[in-house]
Each structure stands twice: as C-alpha cells, then as structure tokens.
C-alpha cells in the first residue's frame, strides 16, 4: 500500500501538481450495543480507500475513491489527475496562494501500544462482560432503559508526500460505557459511566475495557438515576462550582480546544463551526485563566485518542503549551496556517476523518495540568452550598467560543466539607476567560484521568475526529447557575 500512495503522489506531480500527498487507509470497527439485555446493535464496518491531495496554482485539490489491495493501484493515477484538475479549476480565485510551512520528509512506523488486541478477544467474552454490566443496573422499578456500549476501532494508514514522506501507522482505540435511564414523578434522568454518550474511549487494547469495571459501577448509576427523579432541581444563582473530570473534558474541549484552532481564527471555519475570540493579537498577552491554569497540547500523550507518530500533513507529533500560568501561549496549527503566527513549523494538528476527507486543523490531546490538592481537601476547603457537578448532559457555545451553557447529569450540594444531597439538571453558564479566570484550585495528579471525545464535529461537510482531554476535579468561583 505504501507503493500505491507513492504512485498517486508521483502521478500528481507528473500532472502538474506543485505539492502532493496521499493516504491509503483501512478502517476496521466493531460496534456492540446492548439495551435491556438484548443486543440492539451488532455491526462490524470496514472501509478501505485512497485520498490524494495536491496544491495546484495555489489551491488545494482533493480526490478520493474506495478500493482494496487489488485495485487501488489502478485507481490511484486517475484520482491524482482529478485532484490536480480540481485545484487548477479553482486556483484562479485564490487571493494568495496556499503556502506550506517547511517539513522534511519523514520516514517511519508508529503503532498504538496495545496489551490485548481487542479484535482477538472472543465475542462471547465481550458479550458476557456486557451482560454483567447490564445486570448490574437491574433492580429498581424506576429504571426504564439500560444501555451498554462497546466500541473498537483500528485505523491503518500508509502516507506518502512529495516532500519525501513515507509513513505507516496503526492506531487502535477501545471504548465502553453504560447508562441507566430512570423515569418517575414525570421526570426522566440518566446516569452514565464512566462518561456520557457511549462511555469513554482510550487509545489501547481491551485492557482499557477491563480497567473500567463496568459491572462494579452499574448499581451506582442505577441508584443515582432513580434518585435523581425525586431530587430537587439545582438552584439558580451564583455559587462555587467543583467540576468532575468528565465534565471538565468537555469544558476544555469547547472553551479552549476549539478557540485555539488557528484555522478558525483565520476565518476558514466561519461558514459553519464559526470563528474564535482568541485572535492573534491576544497571543502571549491574553489572561485566558487564573495563574493555576495550565493547558498542554500533546499528541504524544500515552492513551490519547490523537496520539500518533505523524499527522495527515506528515508532521511529527509534539507537545506545547496552549495556556501557561493562565496566559494564552499557543495555537493548534497545520502546515497551511502556521506561518500566520510567525511559526516556521506546523504543530502537527492536521487530520481527516478518513481517506474520504481532506485534512483540516483539529484539536489534539489537550489537558488541564493537575494541581496539588486532594479531592477531600478541596471539599473541606469549600463553603456550604457550593455545587459539585459531573457528566455531560447537554452543551452549547456561541460561534466565537465566548458564551457557553452546560448541563450536567448530576450534582451534589457541598455541606460541611462533604458531598451532600443530590440535585438534578445542574445548568451553569459563563464567559470563557472569566470562567477559567475564576479557577482557584485543581486536584492533584492522583485524580487526573484521560477522557476521550470520539465524535468531535468540524468542517463543512462535517467530519468527525477523536482526541483526549486529561483533567482532575477543579474549583471555579462565582459561577452563574440557571434553571
């Protein structure tokens, strides 16, 4: 397949391309979904194809088609010529030609470290584990739906570029989760473990699922969902908020990840996803958060869903600060946009959903660095009436990534330095920099966990990408709650 990618690049250059890259990709997945003990989803999709991207007359051209080991070599030259023609047909409209940050041709292999190949674990064992998880949620009349998900993904990619890149990567991600939905007193409430929306996903093998201990946590989710139906609504007003890690994951993603994608700042995503308040004049000067807020981008992070050897521009992975001691320090870039902030190299954030899609700038793994408090110390240090909230229920943020409103699955009121009564539908809203500026404590590394986002949508037509946000519970002051 490496030869096929190279063939496409060579043909594109022969057809007049000024730059060319090609990705042959094979995606294999296994998706299992159990509801109320019955398997309602059992799918094993595969996809195999070639995407060729060129620069011609200063504009991008991209062409993609499916194939397999036998016929992609026949498909590749025609696709390369189509990509060049596409660039040629549109190049005259470019006000300035696309210019790529320099990158030496990389040659290498990268594989996700996997202890236990998830595709080799027997279906009987997987279904047995799901059944145990399902049964752990039985036993309360209020429960109207029990769902258990298991998801495996293997992505094998061969890349070549006219800069001399020749890369082969195998990425494996495994995930699982459960959710109990209760209905009582005219109220419907859901609790999910370990995270909302099909659970948590981590780069790695089946060891990821075993470590989750789904059956050991189903009973707690069942009880919390049922009890939430008779719990009071989380009150309105201004209060201290302690966010759990899985909710912080989304808070980081929406209010730091997306606004620091440089293509958004430059208007490339204005037609759908939107722009960013974090414009270039704010770089290295804007107080993004309080001094305890450090957010590090890291595409080498062990277990990260965007952990790989190279991105789809063939740029090696790396680690760099986005926010350091509260100050806005860096963007996520690809080779096309890096020079807009006077950087001579891309940060390696270029990714496509599959061989079918042209790469765009994506959030990489981005984590809130841990502080030095234990969770118990944080609770003891927090006044009565403060709120602990976790697990995403719904989310919304404006197109400039300033005004957000999130609702969590569950909250508990803090009383006497401990977690107290359950509160349902906690909804908080705020302004990005004010919110991060109000962060005054972060739990220590012992409480730091990785939370995967497997369905980040961006682009037009929309593409889905995966990334991880690490976080430990953190405290925010004077947060506005609404009902």
């Amino acid at each position: 397949m490496q030869a096929v990618a190279q063939l496409a690049v060579d043909e594109a250059l022969r057809a007049g391309a000024d730059y060319a890259d090609a990705r042959v990709q094979r995606l294999s997945m296994e998706e299992l979904a159990m509801r109320d003990g019955s398997l309602v989803g059992a799918d094993a999709p595969e996809s195999f194809g070639l995407g060729v991207r060129v620069l011609k007359d200063g504009a991008w051209g991209f062409a993609a088609a499916p194939g397999n080991h036998k016929d992609l070599a026949e498909v590749a030259p025609g696709l390369a010529r189509r990509a060049v023609k596409t660039g040629r047909d549109l190049g005259r409209l470019r006000r300035t030609p696309v210019e790529l940050a320099p990158q030496e041709g990389q040659v290498g292999e990268w594989h996700t470290p996997v202890e236990e190949d998830p595709f080799r674990v027997s279906l009987e064992e997987k279904l047995g584990l799901m059944r145990q998880a399902d049964e752990s949620m039985c036993g309360r009349d209020e429960i109207v739906s029990r769902v258990v998900n298991l998801s495996l993904r293997r992505e094998e990619q061969w890349q070549a570029s006219s800069d001399g890149a020749r890369l082969h990567q195998v990425l494996v991600r495994t995930g699982a989760g459960l959710a109990a939905t209760a209905s009582a007193h005219g109220v419907v409430e859901r609790r999910s473990y370990p995270a909302s929306f099909s659970g948590n996903q981590i780069s790695g093998g089946f060891e990821v699922v075993r470590a989750m201990d789904l059956p050991g946590n189903g009973g707690r989710m069942r009880d919390e969902a049922a009890d939430l139906c008779s719990a009071p609504l989380c009150p309105e007003g201004v209060r201290t908020l302690i966010l759990g890690g899985s909710q912080l994951c989304l808070q980081i993603h929406e209010s730091v990840g997306h606004p620091t994608e440089l293509d958004r700042v430059l208007g490339h995503e204005m037609d759908l996803a939107g722009a960013s308040f974090a414009t270039r004049n704010h770089l290295r000067t804007l107080d993004y958060g309080s001094s305890c807020v450090n957010l590090q981008a890291d595409s080498t992070l062990s277990g990260g869903l965007d952990t790989r050897g190279w991105d789809d521009d063939c740029v090696p992975s790396g680690s760099w600060p986005i926010v350091q001691e509260g100050v806005f320090k860096g963007y996520q870039t690809n080779r096309e946009v890096a020079s807009a902030v006077d950087e001579d190299k891309s940060r390696g954030c270029s990714r496509a959903e599959s061989w079918y899609d042209p790469p765009i700038v994506r959030i990489t793994n981005l984590s809130l660095q841990p502080g030095n408090m234990s969770f118990d110390e944080m609770l003891a240090d927090t006044e009565d009436g403060a709120i602990f909230a976790d697990s995403v229920r719904t989310w919304s943020i404006d197109q400039r990534r300033v005004n957000f409103q999130f609702t969590c699955e569950v909250a508990r009121e803090i009383q006497g330095g401990r977690l107290g009564r359950l509160l349902r539908r906690p909804t908080y809203q705020g302004n990005t920099t004010s919110f991060w500026g109000s962060c005054d404590a972060i739990c220590s590394a012992e409480y730091f966990h990785l939370w995967g986002i497997a369905t980040c949508g961006k682009g037009n037509p929309m593409q889905v990408a995966e990334m991880t946000h690490g976080a430990a519970p953190s405290r925010f002051r004077e947060v506005q709650f609404i009902q």
Partner: protein
C-alpha cells in the same frame, strides 16, 4: 463515475443474498458521488471530488428462543471483501443472544421510482468557481469577508432481502451557502443558504444578496438585555429548533421510554390550528429516501395538525410493541436508535416576512441559531445562541443590529406562542445533521438568558 446502474446494484445485492448461509439476509448498497468547493477569505480552501460505496449485510439466524442478528459493512464492491463482510456478520450473529421480540423480514413492497438528477450530478468545479467568484466579488465591494460552500451530491440506494423485498431509489442535492463577515470585525456575519434537488433551482444571486445585506447591516451591534421578546425567526433559525423534533422526541421509542414531548399530549389541542408539521419523504422540492432502513415505504405522517401532536413515527418492531401502524421510519437494523422522522415539512402560512415583522411592537428579528442543543426531552427545553444577523424590531420595523443572545426555551411552549407563519418555505439545515422545509415564524414570549459583546 461510481454510481452503479440500478441493474448492476441489484445484481451485486442479489448475489450476496444468494450466497448467504443465514436464515434471513438483507443487503443494502449505497453509492455516493460528491463534489464540493469550500471557500474562506483567501478563496477556495477545500475542493474535493470524491466517491464511495457502502455495502451492508444484515444476517439473521432463527432459533426457538428468537432471532439472532448482526450487520457488517464494507466500502468496496469486490467479491472477496463482500464475502469477508458476510463472514463477519455471520460470526457476530452467531455469538449474539436471541431476541424474542424480533419479527421475520417482510416481503415485497411498491416504492416510487427515482433517479439521480443528471444536471446536478454533472455540475462541474468550473461552474462552482463561478458561484464562488460572484460571492467573493460582492463581499469585497461591501468590505465583507466571505466563507461558504458550493456542493453537489448524488446518492443511489438499493435494498434487497431474502423475503423478496426490493427497494431502490436515488437522491440529488445541490447546496450553496455564504457567510459574509465585516472585515473590520465590527459585527456578526450575515448568513444565507439554499439547498435543492435540482442545481438549476439554486438562486446564487439571492443567497449572495441576503448574506451581504445582513452582514453589511450588522455592523456595530448594540447591547440588549436578556429577557423575553417577541421574535420573528427566519427559516434558518426555525430549522435549529424544529430539527430537534427530528433527532429526538417524535419517535415511538422515545414515547415508550417517556422521554418525549408526546407523553400526555397526543391529540391535545395546545398549538395554533395553522401550525402543521408533517414528515414527508415525497415532498416535491426536497424528496428524501422513499423507503426506510428495512425497505419499508415511508408514509407521510402528520406530526402536528389541528393544533395537536399526532402519533409517533414507527418501524416494524415499535409498531408491534405499541400496536400502531408501521410508518416506515426505521434505522438500518439491528440498531440502538429508534424510529425517527427525517423529512420534516412545516406548512407555509400566509404572511410575508414584512408582515410578520410589522406585527411586532418591540422584539427581535433572528436569522439563525448556533449550536442549539437539548436540555430536557419532555418539554423539549433547548438552548442556543443567535447568529448570522440579529436585529431589533421596534414599531413594526427593523431598526438596529443587536449583540447575540443565548436562549433557553421550551420548544413545546414556544410553538404554543406562534402568532404568525410565513408564506415562503425554504429548505434549510442547522449545525447538526439534516434539513427541514419551513417558513419563518413569529412567536411571543421567547426567553433569552444571557448575551455576548458581539
């Protein structure tokens, strides 16, 4: 060209049904040709000419305890790959527990014929470049920064099962959108878009004029308090709200699990009588797939009529569980997703947009909502931000642009407060998936809960 002739697609599917050792087999082949040119301030930014297939095989094994079933999908038409997918589906089905609630596959049906619209399929990149050039030129004259999408896509889908069902059809889509933002950052952008099954029906000049007009008039917005307002929602804004009735709420499964606005409300006259919402895959200007994920013909379903919610949409399984007719709204099975309406059509009223505005003493004209999301399913409480042009209405006339606001509002309560319906329907979408055919609406008492600086 990737699209297969109808005969070729039938041949590929039938060969797999014949080769399957399962007790029942269903094969679906979807092919797609897609050409798009996306543009941003510097010109065309992503230009793609692409094609793909999805060959999906559902196998079912009968046991005394019920059906065991699974699905496998492959992206090529090679026999070797298809046979491998069949093997994966068989292995998965063999390991699954039997489900006593599953029904046997259903047999022959009549599906209205459809074919790809050839001029839309053949629309070239040079023609798309003309659209983009016009948008860039008009934006430059108005000191606005352009971004948008010019796209044409055609799809074919064929479904065959071992019970004798054959369903086939095609969809065509042409789309042009423009977001025009003040170059100096002095306001929010103007937004407009059109989608149609016939590329010749895209009025590029109108899309450009609307977006440029809104972008130019939106400079220097003034702050406005977050409170309840009477609002006139243009079709793009209406789509962000109404599409949630497509994603969640009007299917039989949500009703069964009591996570639906239908709970306790079916047949209750709570909305204005002229608010009519249907699911209609046969709508002439925006036809959808005429059969569902199991090959069942999609019925036209009255979701809101005579001021009341109607019955939910169903699939074969949920129709049996709830003793309702099968309306043909199934996802491909097996699936954890219940039936859902995918082709919403909100009926037109009789007021022009100017008449809708003239009926507002103190309110807002809203072009679009951004990142709307569902907070609570029973009352359909939604939150989202205004975007793409928000203007104050005073004394029945549009006055100043205002800073964007966040709404937090029950959709059920909002629809009770509809006081005017536009006479012009548009085919529009939102940030998440799907399109709806809808007019503008005027609503009283729409609740805003916070604001931004732009």
């Amino acid at each position: 060209m990737t699209l297969l002739s109808a005969d070729h697609a039938l041949e590929v599917c039938q060969a797999l049904v014949d080769a399957s050792p399962a007790d029942e087999t269903e094969v679906t082949l979807q092919s797609e040709e897609d050409r798009f040119a996306r543009f941003s301030p510097e010109g065309p930014s992503q230009n793609a000419d692409r094609e793909r297939h999805e060959l999906s095989i559902r196998v079912r094994l009968h046991t005394e305890a019920g059906w065991k079933e699974a699905r496998a999908t492959v992206g090529t038409l090679e026999e070797e790959d298809a046979r491998a997918a069949l093997g994966r589906a068989m292995a998965l089905a063999g390991a699954t527990p039997p489900d006593p609630d599953r029904l046997p596959l259903a047999g022959a049906v009549e599906i209205p014929g459809s074919a790809p619209h050839r001029p839309t399929q053949d629309h070239s990149f040079r023609e798309k470049a003309e659209w983009i050039e016009a948008a860039m030129s008009r934006c430059a004259q108005a000191e606005l920064s352009p971004a948008g999408l010019a796209r044409t896509t055609v799809y074919t889908r064929t479904l065959i099962n071992s019970a004798g069902r054959v369903a086939e059809g095609a969809l065509s889509r042409a789309h042009f959108s423009l977001t025009a933002s003040p170059i100096d950052g002095s306001g929010d952008a103007g937004v407009a878009e059109q989608t149609h099954c016939d590329v010749a029906r895209i009025d590029v000049d109108e899309v450009i004029s609307r977006a440029v007009d809104r972008g130019a008039r939106g400079r220097n917005p003034k702050p406005i308090a977050a409170q309840e307002y009477t609002v006139v929602l243009e079709p793009l804004a209406v789509s962000s709200l109404m599409l949630f009735l497509s994603y969640k709420g009007l299917g039989a499964e949500e009703l069964h699990f009591k996570a639906s606005p239908l709970v306790g409300r079916i047949g209750e006259r709570i909305f204005p009588g002229d608010l009519q919402l249907h699911d209609d895959a046969g709508y002439a200007d925006h036809p959808g797939w005429r059969f569902d994920g199991e090959g069942t013909p999609r019925s036209r379903v009255a979701l809101i009529s005579d001021g009341a919610f109607g019955l939910p949409v169903t699939d074969a399984r949920w129709a049996q569980i709830l003793d309702l007719p099968d309306t043909g709204h199934s996802a491909p099975q097996p699936s954890s997703n219940g039936p859902a309406p995918e082709n919403l059509v909100l009926a037109a009223g009789n007021e022009s947009i100017e008449q809708l505005i003239s009926g507002v003493d103190n309110g807002l004209l809203i072009s679009q909502f951004h990142y709307t999301n569902l907070m609570e399913p029973r009352d359909m409480i939604l939150t989202g931000m205004t975007r793409g042009g928000t203007f104050q209405i005073q004394g029945g006339e549009v006055t100043d642009p205002v800073c964007n606001l966040r709404f937090t509002q029950s959709l059920v309560e909002a629809l009770k407060q509809v006081t005017g319906i536009g006479r012009r329907q548009e085919i529009v979408g939102a940030l998440f998936d799907g399109n709806i055919v809808c007019p503008a609406l005027r609503l009283d008492g729409f609740r805003f809960t916070s604001t931004t600086e732009i």
